[in-house]
Symmetry: C2
Subunit: 260 residues, 2 copies
């Protein structure tokens, strides 16, 4: 298991590398291609983590957990149901979540597993999907809740979820994850709000990559946000949201206080 | 007015340049930044046009024309209603539209005006929007119609419209267009099916860029598809769809015959 991360150094320069404990072993090349160590090793105080990838798009699932489907009274879908969240919404761990200017409504967190694509994916067989997955990250799929159904004729999935900083990703990308034995845990200021097993997913990561690759082409760095389960809710100003998955780590983002 | 285009030359190499009549004056640099002529001029038989840009995302409008809103009995929205269509769906003029494998349902054309973004757009005032528009292109926003409402709980805008070749763009990008005096004309095998004035738009190009830039960050090469009006309909296998706007030119794409 390798933990890949992007970072900003104290001199303002950015780069990527491999986390080893609290140290970051800088690499050069292409994160999704050939890389080698530069020889530079940064101590914890010498780097700030960034979003671990810069997705062109975030393909985000709706209704992909049996427990949540049962709670909201919906059947399990026969094909993954998704919207596209702009890749420009991405933010790394410890970056603030910013309330959109002029929006006074509810802002909702959703803790999720994120699949990071490593190779172009087009019409992939299920058995080929795994090789196209670079790794896994934590996702906080943030929503401006009052916008989603503001218009009765047209649910605004893309708009309500694509604001800058509404696609929290990180802290890193874990190349291997025994996802079916893992859980997503979300804490708000330390208080647990979500804790659900990934084994409850309707479409597994490999199924998602294979099926979605028949619908659209996935590119390296794209993220599939696997959908959330029970317990998502609103974030108050100033509150810190931590999404953690054992083996990946903890993604922490605070909603800036109004005017912050 | 400059007509920018991307092309593939006979040797397989790709590039970009300026159309002058049937000739293509090759440029180097960044299409959305600083460019200069290479000195190479290609005659018509020496190049094949590609999609004029490679959008990271296509922001596509629903219900943006008064005539169509009246026809379907919907009020004009108070804010642009959009979904995100994957940029990987883009195809240039004369590229075939490909039926998704396993999909036997209706495939629908929609002729539209496309806005090509030239500079990063974030929270732009209306008066600044125009300077961020690089130019205009024709769009055929193709839809796998039976997928859109296949699931009663979740309209699949992104999925039904993001298949490879479902985002036809071209033939070029016109840097200036008196859009309010222009019409979108669509012909199927030469028979007119759409002909509507762009002056009937609910949100103008400048309003779209300004408003949407408050929702998500637009990047150079991104396309806003301004929505369609009356007359969109299905495409039979083998039929050629031509979307034309005077001053931009004609975008022509044929739906491959089944098995083609």
């Amino acid at each position: 298991m390798t933990l890949w991360a992007r970072f900003r150094a104290e001199d303002g320069g950015t780069g990527f590398g491999v986390l080893q404990g609290s140290q970051l072993v800088e690499q050069q090349g292409e994160m999704f291609g050939a890389t080698h160590a530069t020889g530079r090793i940064l101590a914890q105080h010498e780097y700030t983590l960034l979003s671990p990838c810069e997705p062109g798009k975030i393909v985000a699932l709706w209704n992909n957990f049996h427990a949540l489907a049962a709670k909201i009274g919906k059947a399990a879908p026969s094909h993954p149901l998704f919207f596209i969240k702009s890749g420009t919404s991405s933010a790394g761990t410890h970056e603030p979540i910013r309330r959109p200017a002029g929006y006074t409504g509810k802002i909702v967190f959703e803790g999720e597993l994120g699949i990071v694509i490593g190779k172009p994916c087009r019409n992939l067989a299920l058995t080929d999907a795994g090789r196209h997955i670079f790794g896994y990250t934590c996702v906080n799929d943030v929503t401006a809740h009052d916008i989603l159904n503001e218009n009765a004729d047209f649910p605004q999935w893309a708009r309500s979820k694509s604001f800058d900083t509404f696609g929290c990703l990180g802290p890193c990308i874990a190349t291997d994850l025994n996802w079916s034995a893992s859980s997503v845990v979300v804490r708000l200021d330390g208080v647990e709000r979500q804790n659900y097993p990934l084994a409850d997913m309707i479409f597994s990561p490999e199924e998602l990559v294979s099926r979605i690759s028949h619908d659209l082409t996935l590119l390296p760095g794209d993220v599939i946000a696997c959908g959330t389960s029970i317990g998502a809710g609103s974030i108050k100003a100033g509150v810190s949201v931590e999404v953690s998955i054992a083996g990946v780590g903890a993604l922490v983002n605070r909603l800036l206080p109004d005017g912050g």
